[in-house]
């Protein structure tokens, strides 16, 4: 095994051996070095310089091998490096105690083999620099020139790497003394750049080596790929030159931009190697300060555009832009600089995208970086955001965005929404809706919902019509995306989404009537055509928006503020919307017509109120009269009519009669009785009998016109009594009769109607008759709560005998009632 190993070390052909053999070989070489090192150290202690040098030569010889992969060679080199450092220290001391460094430098050049010769030369050179007997500049130039002797890529790179490591701390800089011997920082710059260029060339050549033996195409390809990674990692060695360069204090931003950068870029661009360009460009960005990059931004970006088309520019740009974003967080750019920086980037990106070298996704990622730049420069510049969105939009070519891209675009949009967190600002971004329109449906909905949430949270009122239109443009998707079965479920996301949309509508109004009217019209325009399912939700906030506007107009009228919108315009719009709703949602239209009637009444528009009531009654007649819920609907009409205190007697009595007519047609007698009894109260409306005893509101509820139709009043009550006594079953009939009696007493108290003592007493007799007729039924069947109710009513009546108007009750026969039911 060992013989085979030694065969390999002596062979100069560049053939890579299989991995296990590599590891074995590596170990062998290390052992060899170790053995020599052991001896070397002994000589070192004995200060036998010649022998030290000879042993060192032996050790370095192992680096002549071609058999190791880059990674393994690196390990061997590192192993040797420790020993070489010891040798250097030793020689340094020797020189301090008399050894001539210059002579040493000359002597080592007589070493037989070139690799050991050059390593020793570098070591000697390092020692010579310390003496300052010779200008450092000359030494560096000489070493540089000598290293050109090794053109083998792996060996050459490591040799030069050794060079950089040895002279690292000895390079002249502005912080060190500036003597003739010492040299200037320019010398350092020149040296490093030259070294960098040479190392780069070697590195690139390394990647194109194919030192295989007899392998098939596939075999070669596989090995090539595996080794490729190792070779790429060696780029780190090349990159250290740039790091060292950046560490030089003497490299100011001026020197960097005028001397250093052009040379580096020249080499990077010239070498035209994808891997080298990618790697080194990033190292350069990372090594040099961000201020330098800002200063040379245009140059940097232009050279990016000149790189090999295979280079992943995106990675490089991202690196640069992300660094600058962080930089701007703590270092504000000067105002005049700000814009220039942004446009430099945007122009470059524009040129890059035109070349069509990058994939769409990559360009989007870069645009996102540009967005970050814009934010970090100046959050107030909405136009930066708009530019980015516009660019993205143009890039996407009006096509729906595919999955990978949509993530990037969505992230961009989310970042914008979060950064501004203010809908008023967001709607100013012109191209915002154009861009969101290209996203997949689910994403669009998310964003739109996000915006609505923003309005709700911040409680932002939008009263300018242009802004509101823009807002609607942004959330259009919620108004028209397709609806599926799941969405119709009670608790679905769709329902929540629609609920939020309804809520947000309440933020669209203005105290200025003209503006508010425009808003209302815009709402109609946007919401009205959205289809049945949606309108079922929207109709409420929409109509109430209109009714609130009417309320405001009335308020303004009272305050003598003028406005140019007419009530009729408004109520016509509302009425039209509701008309169109009747066929789809009659019940909703019905309720809202009643609401509109009330609103019209408050505005003192008796004709409009009347017409709205008629519409409601028509719907009732057409749709509800055959349904179970009809009585509820009729009660709604009746109770609403009571509140219309500003419509004239003609209109009022017509509507009241309509109510009475419909009351008689109710299906269940118990409802008939109740409804007609209620209707009776229509026919006597005076100030003192306003149907609300609410003290705070009574001013507003005061009826402006008095109304009394005794004939109809009595007619209703009598009809109610007839129905209650003959068509309703016992004992419910009794309850109805007591309720009717209660109402009769209200009229009796006024002493202004034909509900007089006789009428009341007759009714009481009737009640007693009804009870006695059914008395044959055992007491136990009379439900307790009924009995309680009736007795409580009797109590109430009897109390009137002790009340304010006790005189009129003198002849009313409540006692008889009490006896009957006790």
């Amino acid at each position: 095994m060992s013989s085979k190993g030694s065969d390999l070390t002596k062979r100069k052909e560049s053939v890579l051996t299989p991995r296990i053999e590599q590891e074995t070989l590596l170990q062998e070489l290390k052992d060899k070095i170790q053995r020599s090192a052991f001896d070397m150290r002994k000589f070192l202690e004995d200060e036998q310089t010649i022998l030290v040098l000879i042993k060192t030569t032996e050790m370095i010889s192992e680096l002549r091998t071609s058999a190791l992969s880059p990674k393994n060679y690196f390990e061997l080199y590192s192993f040797l490096l420790n020993e070489l450092r010891n040798v250097e220290s030793y020689l340094d001391e020797q020189v301090k105690t008399g050894l001539s460094a210059q002579e040493l430098y000359k002597v080592v050049q007589f070493t037989g083999q070139v690799i050991p010769r050059l390593y020793l030369l570098i070591t000697a050179g390092s020692v010579l620099i310390n003496t300052e007997e010779v200008p450092i500049k000359d030494i560096l130039q000489d070493l540089n020139k000598m290293c050109r002797g090794i053109q083998h890529p792996t060996r050459g790179i490591f040799l030069r790497y050794y060079l950089t490591q040895m002279v690292k701390d000895k390079l002249p800089d502005i912080t060190t003394q500036n003597s003739e011997m010492h040299g200037t920082v320019e010398d350092s710059i020149n040296f490093i750049i030259s070294n960098f260029i040479e190392m780069n060339k070697l590195w690139i050549r390394m990647q194109h080596q194919t030192p295989f033996g007899n392998l098939s195409e596939i075999g070669k390809k596989y090995v090539h790929t595996m080794l490729g990674k190792e070779r790429t990692e060696l780029g780190m060695l090349v990159g250290t030159n740039l790091s060292r360069l950046a560490q030089l204090e003497g490299v100011t931003v001026e020197i960097y931009s005028q001397n250093v950068l052009p040379l580096i870029l020249h080499q990077i661009i010239d070498c035209n190697d994808k891997i080298a360009q990618e790697y080194l460009f990033v190292v350069m960005i990372q090594a040099f300060p961000d201020e330098f990059h800002l200063e040379t931004l245009e140059t940097l970006l232009k050279s990016l555009e000149e790189l090999n088309p295979n280079v992943d520019i995106k990675e490089i740009l991202q690196e640069l832009m992300q660094r600058l974003v962080i930089y701007f967080k703590t270092n504000r750019a000067a105002e005049n600089q700000e814009h220039k920086i942004f446009t430099t980037f945007s122009d470059s990106i524009s040129r890059i995208s035109q070349k069509k070298v990058l994939k769409q996704t990559d360009l989007l990622i870069i645009l996102r970086c540009l967005l970050q730049i814009g934010f970090s420069l100046n959050l107030n510049r909405i136009d930066y955001v708009d530019y980015v969105f516009q660019s993205a939009f143009r890039l996407l070519n009006n096509e729906i965005i595919k999955q990978d891209d949509s993530n990037v675009v969505t992230q961009m949009i989310q970042e914008v929404i979060q950064s501004y967190n203010n809908v008023i600002v967001l709607i100013e971004i012109e191209s915002f809706p154009h861009l969101t329109n290209l996203l997949p449906l689910a994403e669009q909905r998310k964003i739109a919902n996000n915006l609505i949430e923003n309005v709700l949270k911040s409680q932002t009122i939008i009263e300018e019509i242009e802004k509101l239109q823009r807002f609607f443009n942004l959330i259009q998707i919620l108004l028209n995306h397709p609806i599926n079965q799941n969405d119709l479920q009670f608790d679905s996301d769709f329902q929540k989404e629609q609920s939020a949309l309804c809520k947000v509508i309440h933020f669209f109004y203005s105290d200025d009537i003209e503006k508010y009217f425009l808003i209302f019209q815009l709402l109609i325009k946007e919401l009205n055509g959205t289809g049945k399912v949606r309108m079922k939700n929207y109709i409420f906030p929409l109509i109430f928006s209109g009714l609130k506007l009417a309320q405001k107009m009335r308020e303004n009228e009272r305050n003598k503020s003028e406005f140019s919108i007419s009530f009729n315009q408004l109520f016509d719009s509302i009425s039209t919307i509701l008309e169109n709703l009747i066929n789809f949602f009659p019940e909703v239209a019905f309720k809202l017509f009643l609401q509109t009637a009330q609103a019209a009444n408050k505005c003192r528009l008796e004709k409009v109120a009347y017409e709205m009531m008629l519409k409601a009654i028509t719907i009732y007649g057409d749709v509800f009269s055959l349904r179970e819920t009809q009585f509820k609907m009729l009660f709604s009409i009746i109770s609403t009519l009571f509140t219309l205190n500003y419509i004239g007697n003609e209109y009022f009595s017509f509507l009241a009669v309509q109510c009475a007519i419909h009351s008689k047609k109710l299906v269940q007698p118990i409802h008939q009785a109740k409804a007609i009894c209620c209707c009776s109260r229509f026919f006597y409306l005076q100030d003192s009998l306003i149907p609300t005893n609410s003290l705070e509101n009574s001013q507003n509820q005061k009826r402006s016109i008095q109304f009394h139709d005794d004939k109809k009043l009595v007619g209703c009550l009598s009809k109610a009594i007839r129905i209650a006594s003959s068509s309703i079953e016992f004992p419910v009939s009794l309850e109805s009769l007591f309720e009717i009696l209660d109402v009769c007493l209200i009229f009796f108290e006024t002493q202004k109607t034909n509900i007089n003592i006789e009428y009341i007493n007759t009714l009481i007799e009737l009640i007693i008759q009804v009870k006695e007729k059914n008395q044959s039924q055992p007491q136990v069947l009379f439900p307790q709560n009924s009995l309680v109710f009736i007795n409580q009513m009797i109590r109430k009546f009897i109390k009137k005998k002790k009340g304010e108007k006790k005189e009129i009750y003198l002849e009313i026969n409540f006692q008889k009632l009490k006896k009957t039911f006790n």
Partner: protein
């Protein structure tokens, strides 16, 4: 001490967007044992909001409530020996009329009747029975009442008396009033009956 929250006529999202922030801060879970709501929430979200405040919740159906909520027309709840009646009030004709409310109270056979719909707070006693309208907690638009003030009621039922706290939001300022009622007599004496 039993704390009863009396609240209603939210009209979310039909007429407004949310309970006022000022109120929301006051309405925290923990103290409230029972909620009596007059209805017109109008949707499930609002119903769920109530569940975050207490676990014993009674809601009745208002004229705009979602059918899917399956709310009853009225409710009777006994709290600490007192019978409460709960109706929305849109079918008490005429709206807010004391006599008509009295009939409802007798029909349900309750000592305290909670009603709403008018969007205006009111509290009165009539023949030993108490009538409370908490108003609209959101101050929602009403075709009936002008200048609606957001309000709700918190009732503290004690051994001898009932303390009623009325919370109102007038021009953005919180206003709290205290009303005292004695516990309604459940059995009526026959003294006045002659």
């Amino acid at each position: 001490m039993v704390f009863v929250l009396i609240i209603g006529d939210f009209h979310i999202p039909h007429r407004t967007y949310d309970v006022p922030t000022r109120f929301k801060k006051l309405l925290v879970p923990g103290k409230i044992e029972i909620i009596l709501s007059t209805g017109n929430l109008t949707n499930k979200e609002t119903r769920e909001y109530l569940t975050t405040l207490a676990s014993d919740i009674h809601v009745v159906k208002g004229d705009f409530d979602d059918d899917n909520l399956n709310l009853p027309e009225n409710d009777v709840v006994v709290i600490d020996g007192i019978k409460f009646g709960l109706v929305h009030g849109h079918d008490v004709i005429p709206w807010g009329d004391h006599d008509s409310l009295g009939v409802v109270q007798r029909k349900l056979g309750v000592d305290i009747l909670i009603h709403g719909h008018t969007h205006e707070f009111s509290a009165f006693e009539s023949e030993g029975k108490i009538f409370i309208n908490p108003g609209s907690v959101t101050g929602a638009y009403s075709g009936f009442t002008e200048d609606v003030v957001p309000s709700f009621v918190l009732m503290d039922i004690q051994k001898e008396k009932i303390i009623t706290y009325v919370y109102k939001l007038k021009n953005g300022e919180l206003e709290v009033n205290k009303l005292f009622f004695s516990r309604p007599k459940t059995k009526e004496s026959d003294e006045n009956f002659d």
